[in-house]
């Protein structure tokens, strides 16, 4: 595949790995947070960590849209589907995320709720057109990457005069979350989480550009490299971060020049800004309430806002006790630090969101990371 195979070339990977080996100084560690779940997935799927020196660590951040959605919002979606007899359309990964008392959309579907997995917002619109007698709700989640398609759907629904289509909006913003992590006590004061630099999500920057990261690269003195999602992108970006760290620089650099510009996609930004406005606060799983970190539908498009159209009853939402997803999402703990990991919590029976999505740290670690456990075990045994 053109434009893909080039970024999975074995010889090139070997040469970048050698450069990282050469430039990573043996006397220090390099803790690199990949904010986005797409990077977590790429690191594990292609065995990138395996090609890194011992002192280069990837810290998994909160950039999986499925993982950061708080239980309360998921419970609300289940309630909209069950109580209001709507057709609820959702992206695949959301189906298995456990809400309060382990209730997920897939369980609600098994109990008779009309929940349908879609691949795009356009599928949801089609379902609305095909079922004029039913209310169709699109359960919108995701970062800046998935927000423009939701905006397009609302715009199109308005133009077509679709009266039975609405959006349950849970779109969140990347820069606010990264800023929040950097201001957290674990990073700022306690030093329990060492982050030396960030791999920035390139798909997000293809929409918002890389300018929004310049503020906190400067303010928190942390280098950021906007990195593509192919394994060679991740490796090259890691090399760029190591160079910045070695040179004491903290700039925003763009590895994904084939798509990303400083200002991003202005047309998409204008569309998003037309339909959405900032929420003053939004709760993130793991981070708690984060000011100005999410979007809601503007008053002008209130007819398409499922939150206005359907009342949800106040409820006591609860995550599973002793699930460490919140700490894992902040990079404070690793999946293996969680007592539930690999025992009661597995991808077949997830207790928390990080074990559900293929981009979640726990699922990625469970699925791909056990090789490293085995290698470490063998090395330990050999040393003993």
């Amino acid at each position: 595949m053109k434009y893909v195979a080039e970024y999975r070339d074995k010889d090139l990977a070997k040469s970048v790995a050698s450069a990282i080996q050469r430039e990573a100084k043996p006397g220090r560690t390099y803790n690199i947070m990949e904010f986005c779940g797409g990077h977590t997935h790429a690191i594990f799927r292609y065995g990138v960590q395996n090609l890194m020196p011992e002192n280069v660590h990837f810290v998994h951040g909160p950039g999986c849209p499925v993982c950061v959605l708080p239980v309360r919002r998921l419970d609300d979606a289940v309630e909209i589907a069950e109580r209001h007899n709507v057709i609820l359309c959702t992206y695949g990964d959301m189906m298995r995320v456990p809400g309060t008392k382990q209730r997920s959309l897939i369980r609600a579907k098994a109990d008779g709720a009309d929940i349908r997995m879609v691949y795009s917002t356009l599928d949801a619109l089609k379902i609305a057109r095909d079922n004029p007698e039913r209310e169709v709700v699109f359960f919108a989640i995701g970062f800046e990457t998935t927000t423009p398609p939701t905006a397009v759907a609302i715009k199109q629904a308005e133009e077509e005069g679709l009266k039975n289509f609405s959006v349950f909006c849970n779109h969140v913003l990347t820069p606010s979350a990264i800023g929040h992590i950097l201001q957290s006590p674990e990073v700022r004061e306690l030093g329990t989480v060492q982050i030396d630099g960030f791999l920035g999500p390139s798909h997000v920057s293809s929409v918002i550009g890389f300018e929004p990261y310049e503020y906190f690269a400067e303010e928190f003195q942390k280098p950021v490299v906007i990195a593509g999602f192919e394994p060679l992108d991740v490796m090259q970006s890691t090399l760029m971060l190591i160079r910045q760290i070695n040179e004491g620089r903290h700039e925003v650099e763009n590895e994904y020049t084939r798509v990303v510009t400083r200002e991003g996609n202005l047309k998409a930004q204008a569309l998003v800004s037309d339909i959405f406005e900032l929420r003053t606060s939004f709760e993130w799983r793991g981070l708690g309430p984060v000011p100005y970190s999410a979007l809601q539908i503007r008053e002008n498009y209130a007819d398409f806002d499922a939150e206005r159209r359907f009342e949800v009853s106040p409820k006591q939402s609860r995550e599973v006790k002793s699930c460490e997803c919140p700490a894992i999402l902040r990079g404070v703990k690793k999946p293996t630090d969680c007592k539930l990991f690999g025992t009661v919590c597995t991808p077949d029976n997830p207790m928390g969101s990080c074990m559900v999505s293929s981009e979640g740290a726990c699922a990625a670690y469970w699925t791909y990371g056990r090789y490293r456990d085995k290698t470490a075990r063998q090395q330990k045994e050999a040393a003993a």
């Binding site: 990977a13 065995g47 695949g92 995701g142 999505s357 699925t367 090789y371």
Partner: protein, 345 residues
């Protein structure tokens, strides 16, 4: 043979409860549709059970239910699939399939024209495979209690003398061979199920593999394991073997064939082709010295022309399937958890 006039039920155009009621309509359906297309001397005996001649040897029997949606897809339909799937299950024991049975569960209201299309396709698949459908059953369920058509097929075959293919014979050091590209069937189904449009039409690889197996068994009677990587794809099948035989596997990603259009579709949807279903591919574990002759035999057969050696069985104590990735990293190829779901972004 077709003494009963079928025009009465045909005119209505759809299955109704009477087609399963044991009366005239059911007889019309059986003689006018099933026997008409699937007809052979054994089926024509009209007994409730087929009377079969069998050669000496060990019998192999396998049964499989087919509930696929959509019922018609590029490269096949539920009819041909129900024949291929069961023939392959029998063939994966190293056996020569001899007979098939077919049970139909039809939903009230299902178009008779579509049912005929399915039965014609089954008949064609069975004829091509030279394996007759010798007996069957038909039931009709009320509208809303089925999904159009469900088909269960059972296959009976005989294992040639000297052949012992079984999952527990997997041993460290054996070569892992794959008969061709992976993911074709699953992506073809997905492309229709979700109304996804690709620029090129990806066709299912649905095929009966018993003639390929016959060539392979003739080349290397000592073949240890044969499996068709259907649901859960290559990854699930290799994990099943690793767990059952208490061995590990080491794969080479670069050696695993994936067609460019299938790879592109998987990229687009965030799917891993290792987990996508196949219906016309097989995995073979054999002694290393048999690998080259077997690959040559496979490549000489139309269903094995893209065959490749994709890895080696290991003695890993954790029974992990591992893979050297295309960039030279190492990863675990794990079981699939639930259904493989597309990623969000």
């Amino acid at each position: 043979m077709n003494a009963i006039d079928t025009t009465v039920s045909r005119r209505k155009g759809t299955i109704d409860m009477a087609h399963g009621g044991g009366g005239r309509a059911m007889a019309e359906l059986i003689t006018g549709l099933f026997q008409k297309h699937l007809g052979n001397p054994i089926l024509a005996q009209g007994n409730d059970a087929a009377l079969l001649d069998t050669p000496t040897g060990r019998l192999v029997m396998s049964t499989d239910g087919h509930v696929i949606s959509p019922i018609f897809f590029p490269g096949g339909d539920i009819g041909s699939l129900s024949v291929h799937g069961t023939l392959n299950d029998v063939a994966m024991a190293g056996a020569k399939p001899l007979y098939l049975t077919a049970g139909f569960i039809l939903e009230e209201g299902y178009p008779l024209a579509d049912l005929e299309r399915i039965v014609v396709s089954m008949a064609h698949a069975a004829r091509e495979a030279s394996v007759p459908i010798v007996t069957g059953d038909t039931k009709v369920v009320e509208k809303g209690k089925g999904d159009g058509v469900f088909i269960t097929t059972t296959g009976l075959g005989v294992v040639p003398e000297g052949v012992h293919v079984s999952i527990e014979r997997a041993q460290p050091g054996q070569a892992i061979l794959l008969s061709g590209s992976i993911g074709d069937h699953g992506v073809a189904i997905l492309s229709k199920r979700e109304n996804l449009e690709f620029e090129t039409e990806i066709r299912s690889d649905s095929a009966a593999l018993h003639t390929l197996v016959a060539d392979m068994v003739a080349t290397a009677p000592g073949i240890a394991v044969l499996r068709d990587p259907t649901r859960g794809g290559l990854a699930a099948t290799l994990n099943e073997i690793a767990r059952a035989a208490k061995v590990g596997m080491h794969l080479d990603e670069a050696a695993i064939p994936v067609k460019p259009d299938v790879a592109a579709a998987c990229e687009l949807l965030g799917l891993d082709p290792l987990y996508v279903a196949n219906e016309g591919k097989l995995i073979c574990l054999c002694e290393p010295e048999d690998a080259e002759p077997l690959l040559a035999a496979m490549k000489a057969h139309p269903f094995g022309k893209d065959a490749a050696r994709i890895g080696t069985v290991t003695d890993d104590a954790a029974h992990l399937v591992e893979m050297e990735t295309g960039i030279g990293g190492l990863r675990v190829v794990d079981w699939l958890s639930g259904e493989q779901l597309p990623r969000i972004c």
